[in-house]
Amino acid sequence: MSRMLLSPFVKFLFLEGVEQNQKGEVVSEKQNKYKHRFPSSSLYLLPHISSIFLCNFSLHPPPSISSSLSGPADIDSMATIGHNNLNAKLVLLGDMGAGKSSLVLRFVKGQFLEFQESTIGAAFFSQTLAVNDATVKFEIWDTAGQERYHSLAPMYYRGAAAAIIVYDITSTESFARAKKWVQELQKQGNPNMVMALAGNKADLEDKRKVTAEEARVYAEENGLFFTETSAKTAVNVNDTFYEIAKRLPRAQPAQNPAGMVLVDRPAESSQAASCCS
């Protein structure tokens, strides 16, 4: 892969990454390898195009250059050469409308939609973070929240290295549901799974039904990382993913029960590039 070819975009993405996250943790994002890109504003307008696989967004590039970002470029390999590259499967679970998709959209694309399409089955996204001397590439499964979709969940949390259990601070029901998820993951998920409990919609303070204290106590009792987030204002969203990335066990063997695999990303990405361009 040629560094020369990519450099302008790498620079661009780095700058965007810094802008996105003041700590500068978001160093890159896997490029969309395809010609057709859907700039941020269009997501709202793309009923047919915005469903199950909103993945690999770049960090809101201005439309004028978005199409020039196309091509078989794989920025990951640029950011990660010579480091530990970790792939981690992450699953979001929680009640319908708690804000799972909104959190992912905020993290992956830096966006918020007042009306986010309801998720059917699950949607897949990926995003890469730099943590100390390594990068963590999250492969994110954003699941559907309606109770009856529960029976599909094992397919998505199987082999996950991390989970974010989301509830809506304005709904006690959604908090009860979150506890059920925690319980299920403790029994059925990977024993090493990093779990975060996120009380979302923290911007709706005046409608709050679940106190932070109550949730914090519960999280402590169950060994979860607790945070209150707002996909709307972006508060604590990137930080949550960053914290999870830091807590992931390091130096995993190639195949391990936590579902993380150390990969030789440059090789892998050149394969990907050749098949998708």
Binding site: K30, K33, Y34, K35, H36, R37, F38, P39, S42, Y44, L45, L46, P47, H48, I49, S51, I52, F53, C55, N56, P63, S66, S67, S68, S70, N87, M96, G97, L113, F115, Q116, E117, S118, T119, I120, G121, A122, F124, S126, E139, W141, A144, Q146, R148, Y149, H150, S151, L152, P154, M155, Q183, E184, K187, Q188, E268, Q271, A272, S274, C275, C276
Partner: protein, 398 residues
């Protein structure tokens, strides 16, 4: 007589705006992304190639319309609404000459429908072929009006979830995302939730009902189409309680993939990629969320004429079309990207349906039914075991 809902037509007409490109732009076309509305009012974004494909598709739709008009001139108006051969075998006595003409009509119609029903004829043809007309004829005329009247103002778990999803169903659509669109979709979904309380409301039905409304134009017709879909066309229990029917379909699909596309199936298995990760949404939303609207509706054209096996044909075709690319993918994310790119850019329905019906080979409804029967016990056992495990979790808690 209650209200006027049954005759209320949905008042929208989309002028689809597909730009014409001058040749000079071609040289830079890879860099141009354009947004426009398709035939059903959805905003589509693509490059110039996509625009050209869509223009060709519109031309083909027009040509196909001419074929239908010519047949009407020849066979008489509404010839396609006459009894199909399947209903004749159910025991309707007809003279043999009539039988023969019905048979030829059935064959002609099947072929014709695979080539697409002109959008203006869709409401009429779907309503008849799917069995919705028959279903409605078994209840009093005022059924739908009575139903919507009777449930007005009632609040249930289902209605709460429906209300939550109304603005989240194809947000931004010029008609669906208006107060009129929301109210209409609400009546259809709430009405159905009371008609079948086992289904109540299942997420996914919002998209299906929304697209039905756009096609059928009358909310009562959309309601009956939804009813016939859930009660007759699709496998039982697709949307109920624990989605058991959906689990069955997924298992059948996996078996079919292994049989029809063994190389892909083996490769994906090696990657530990479960095809249900992506196919679940296809089956629950009947592709309405993943394919461009005209392509999805072409799938529905065949679905209403030939039954739920069509969903397998189409899902298999999506994998089949990308066989070589998929075999080169080495990560779950790459597999998903390939499938995403493929479905979202299938602006040409012909491309998909040709593979679905010519390359996948025939599958009879009968063999599919047998496979479902075979999978049912396993699904039930699995769901049951899960339920017991979860219950024991709750016990532990006490």
């Amino acid at each position: 007589m209650f209200g006027t809902q049954s005759t209320r037509d949905i008042s929208f007409e989309f002028q689809s705006q597909i730009p014409n490109w001058r040749p000079s732009i071609y040289t830079r076309r890879a860099n141009i992304t354009v947004k426009f509305q398709d035939l059903y009012g959805f905003t589509v974004e693509g490059n110039v190639d996509d625009v050209n494909v869509l223009n060709e598709v519109r031309e083909k739709v027009r040509q196909q319309g001419r074929v239908w008009w010519a047949l009407e001139a020849n066979k008489g108006a509404n010839w396609y609404l006459q009894p199909q051969i399947s209903s004749i075998s159910e025991g309707i006595a007809l003279k043999s000459s009539l039988k023969l003409s019905a048979l030829t009509n059935t064959i002609t119609l099947k072929r014709l429908i695979r080539k697409g029903i002109p959008p203006v004829l869709r409401p009429k043809v779907w309503f008849s072929l799917s069995g919705a007309a028959k279903k409605r004829s078994t209840v009093p005329e005022s059924y739908y009006n009575d139903l919507t009247k009777a449930v007005e103002g009632k609040v249930t778990a289902a209605t709460r979830q429906i209300d939550h999803d109304l603005p989240r169903t194809f947000p931004g659509h010029p008609w669906l995302d208006t107060s009129e669109g929301h109210a209409t979709l609400r009546r259809v979904l709430v009405g159905y939730s009371f008609r079948d309380s086992d289904v109540g409301y299942c997420q996914g039905l919002n998209y299906v009902a929304a697209l039905l409304l756009l096609v059928m134009k009358t909310e009562e017709d959309a309601f009956w189409m939804l009813a016939v879909l859930l009660e007759n066309v699709l496998v039982n229990d697709c949307y109920t309680n624990n989605l058991s029917g959906c689990h069955v379909e997924q298992r059948v699909f996996k078996d079919l993939l292994a049989k029809k596309c063994p190389r892909i199936a083996a490769h994906l298995e090696a990657l530990e990629f479960d095809v249900s990760l992506v196919a679940t949404e296809w089956f629950l939303c009947l592709f309405s969320k993943s394919l461009p609207s005209e392509t999805a509706l072409r799938v529905w054209d065949v679905l209403f004429n030939e039954g739920a096996k069509v969903l397998f044909h189409v899902a298999l075709a999506i994998f089949k079309m990308k066989e070589e690319e998929l075999l080169l993918a080495h990560q779950v994310g790459d597999v998903i990207n390939i499938l995403q790119k493929t479905t979202h850019h299938l602006f040409d329905p012909e491309e998909l349906l040709t593979v679905a019906f010519d390359k996948i080979g025939s599958m009879t409804t009968n063999t599919i039914s047998k496979q479902r029967k075979k999978q049912e016990p396993a699904v039930m056992a699995e769901l049951d075991q899960r339920l017991r495990r979860l219950n024991s979790l709750n016990e532990d808690d006490k």
